[in-house]
């Protein structure tokens, strides 16, 4: 079980099929295999030893796939870097897991001087791009051209495959250690679930450093599909790529789906090849799902729920459950059911399963559960108990095993003794026609403990007052769940993965106070 195995299978079975398409550049599996074997040779030449970490700080490209596969092939461990992080955060993660070799593209080459200063471990910087390497950096293309291909080091099974830093939405970043087995089994299970079709053409528009896209990438490797990359999510680039390369599957986060379906030029593109739109990383509001299904009728929607610590998928909500029969049962509001190879339970604070229908913490076990957090045994022991990963997400499970994610445990608002799930309130606000995105948090209140507070970004050219939002909510949910205060803002603070940073929204209200979490 090594993560290069699927590449080897494709080289053996479909050597001439197109493996990668990036800005018009197409490479076959045979070519990809050659480049991966030569990149591995180059990495060993610059001093990579078995198990050494290799970082990548770059936008999406065909180089990103080569980086993952070439690092594994060389016997290294990937450390893909969140491009939204500050130099201080990146340097922290590089130093934390002693990454000595870093690949960087033109978009981030300007940060290198600062990173070198902050992270003295950093020895070798390799520049990817079509132009010449800046001073002090090696040229990726020159290295690959000069290197001899090497044999696959065949690290696999329980060997560490990658350190994936997470925690952008909370405190200090934690390096999630995943083994080859963790990621391999999870990706085969995704194909078994039908989430990735064999022979697909998949679009990488979500950032390739993140394991949400990584899940898609690894499952596509198992299914032997063609990888199309755009540098970053941008509606025109995405729509053009889908039309030009006849993309059949795409993985996006809900904020991207929203930008796409609200893009006025969308109807001008031929998107009929798109048959499966996977989404994850955060739940999707019902209003947005409605719009998305109307706007791209050829595509089915598949939700994946999970987290980096789970390699990453835990549950899957199939296309069927987004359609009429499933919607009638309310299944489209769930995160789906335990995927093949995963077990899911809703547990109380002691880890004991709660009765069906009751809210508790979502716990997951199976071959995808991480090895642990890098150099953080206490955090690991708190998160993984007896083989179960405690996700920090609150949810309930219905009689058929569908999991409804109600909130991050820490995002639940306790007001006047009642539990309010911010996600439920957000779902209601999102159905208002003037709302582009929203976030609901608890702010301190002497009388009720916490008070429900909503942040709203309006759609371009649309207006709505705080009072109208409150009225909209009162018509739909219990009064105690409705926001007491509404802030209209221009844009949401987002993490590298496109998640709304509630910590940032919450910070000014909680300065100097400690917030109790259930």
């Amino acid at each position: 079980m090594h993560l290069t195995q699927n590449l080897s299978r494709s080289i053996q079975q479909t050597p001439d099929a197109i493996a990668t398409i990036y800005q018009g550049r197409k490479r076959s599996f045979a070519e990809l295999g050659q480049r991966v074997a030569k990149l591995a040779g180059a990495l060993r030449q610059v001093g990579l030893a078995a198990g050494d970490r290799v970082g990548m700080l770059a936008l999406n490209s065909d180089w990103y796939l080569e980086y993952y596969l070439g690092t594994y092939w060389a016997g290294g461990v990937v450390n893909p870097i969140n491009t939204r992080w500050s130099a201080a955060e990146i340097a922290y993660s590089l130093t934390d897991c002693q990454t000595r070799i870093l690949l960087v593209d033109d978009a981030f080459a300007g940060m290198i001087e600062d990173l070198r200063r902050r992270s003295p471990e950093l020895q070798t910087v390799i520049h990817i791009g079509d132009g010449a390497a800046p001073a002090g950096m090696l040229s990726y293309e020159a290295l690959v051209a000069a290197a001899d291909p090497v044999e696959d080091a065949l690290r696999g099974g329980e060997d560490l495959a990658g350190v994936f830093y997470t925690g952008g939405t909370t405190g200090s970043p934690k390096g999630v250690m995943l083994s080859h087995r963790n990621i391999f089994v999870n990706s085969v299970a995704m194909v078994a679930e039908g989430a990735i079709q064999r022979g697909c053409t998949g679009l990488h528009a979500a950032p390739m450093f993140h394991l949400a896209d990584g899940c898609f990438m690894n499952a596509m490797l198992a299914s032997g599909g063609c990888h199309v990359m755009v540098p970053r999510f941008e509606p025109t680039a995405v729509l053009e790529a889908i039309q030009r390369e006849r993309v059949s599957e795409a993985l996006l986060v809900p904020t991207m789906i929203q930008m796409l379906v609200d893009y006025p030029e969308l109807p001008r593109y031929d998107l009929h090849t798109l048959r499966n739109m996977l989404y994850g990383a955060s739940p999707i509001g019902e209003g947005l799902l409605d719009r998305a299904m109307k706007t791209i009728p050829s595509a089915g929607f598949t939700q994946l729920y999970g987290m980096t610590e789970l390699s990453p998928t835990a549950t899957i909500l199939t296309q069927e459950m987004h359609r009429a029969a499933g919607r009638k049962l309310g299944r489209h509001r769930s995160g789906g059911r335990a995927a093949i190879s995963c077990e899911v339970r809703i547990v109380d604070a002691l880890g004991k399963e709660v009765p069906r229908g009751e809210v508790g913490e979502i716990a997951v076990s199976g071959p995808g559960v991480m090895m642990g957090y890098w150099d953080k045994p206490a955090e690991t022991a708190a998160a993984v108990r007896d083989g179960w990963m405690f996700t920090g997400d609150g949810g309930r499970m219905d009689a058929d095993g569908y999991v409804y994610i109600v909130d991050r445990i820490k995002d639940m608002i306790v007001t006047g003794g009642e539990n309010v799930y911010s996600a439920e309130v957000e779902g209601v606000i999102a159905t208002h026609s003037a709302v582009a995105s929203c976030a609901v948090i608890g702010v301190p209140n002497d009388q009720w403990g916490e008070m429900v507070h909503a942040f709203i970004v309006r759609k371009p050219g649309q207006d709505v007052t705080p009072e109208e939002i409150v009225t909209h909510c009162k018509e739909r949910i219990a009064s105690y769940k409705c926001p007491r205060q509404v802030s209209l803002i221009d844009a949401m603070p987002l993490s590298g993965a496109g998640k709304i940073l509630k910590t940032a929204l919450r910070a000014p209200f909680w300065e100097g106070r400690e917030r109790k979490v259930a």
Copy 2:
């Protein structure tokens, strides 16, 4: 990764769906789960400790599935017994792996006295059946009724799951040790390959003690399907079960397919629900495949190639490759390509990959490769080298990775310095309209070293002379490949898995001589 996980998922997600159908008796996943947890409790009560082997000597039934799952649930290790073996062979295997608990049905209860005498380790015999237990045996149903359900022991991962005895066609039986991980990953990969459809109704007609059917059973558990059992392969029982229970998938060995398609009453049954007929355990002759595809037009055919030591699948030949486009390329004559999670190479005697198109030994690596043979370190070291299982099968690989199995390495005939693959000759003979089945072996000859000898079973009411068979061959293959001698016999000697026992055919010719194998 534990083999009860898929049962737990089905109990959670589809508790009321039918899990098993046996002779009109239907049980839901909730009921199956209850019975498995109680059987596990009963096994612990009779003294099962973690890792202890539990044998089963029985025809197919719903009890067989309970046995597998209940043993795993209790923390035990399965040791399913080949029902075609003699008491001496069975006793050898029971003693070899120290099986102290044995389940037996009415068909084999008569052997118990003899087995107890030959295998003193045997302590507890549990009788399965609807009637009362014979003297000296415990009643399965009484034990299950009285037992308290226990928690899943959760053995998994690298823990030993089963000892599967193999070698009925060769010398002394070897106990193939497979871990939970071995079997689990292989079965998820089968679903990922589309070999088993989600929500299927699958027929167990091949013996459930054998891992060919075990592969089907475990993949069906992963896909959450319904298991229909018939006690043993018998055309009427199979056809009636398909019609009555609307069976969608069936796994058979080629000799069974042959008996089915030659069965005169077949056209009277409604078989239109059958959409996938999986076959394996031995290659299928082209003549038989033709007849089968004509006789059951609704069904696609999927070939699985593997062996117990591989948990068991290595390659898969999809339905598409059995149809016009695939046949035009000759793909239907192959065993397919490396399945997801498997790597396949054709290697020389030193284990080095041979050029594409050349014949060598088929070697396989991946998560399915066995832990080893029970208490046979030398045989294990000879079979598994550097993570690669040397299958003993000769084959070649084409440019697209399709593997053509030419013969067992030991069944290759060397005559006058030329290699003759018995399977090739058999394929040609099988296309003769009067031939029901055939086997080709090498017999000693002073002039040529070995000489090609064919055994033929004729179809009922059909006749053919040895001379006509030789003429039929000479029109189609090189003269040196054609049989010099043809024996017309009434029936082939078969192993428990339905494989033709070439050792038995070969024995009288080689008595007192040693046959050299490449």
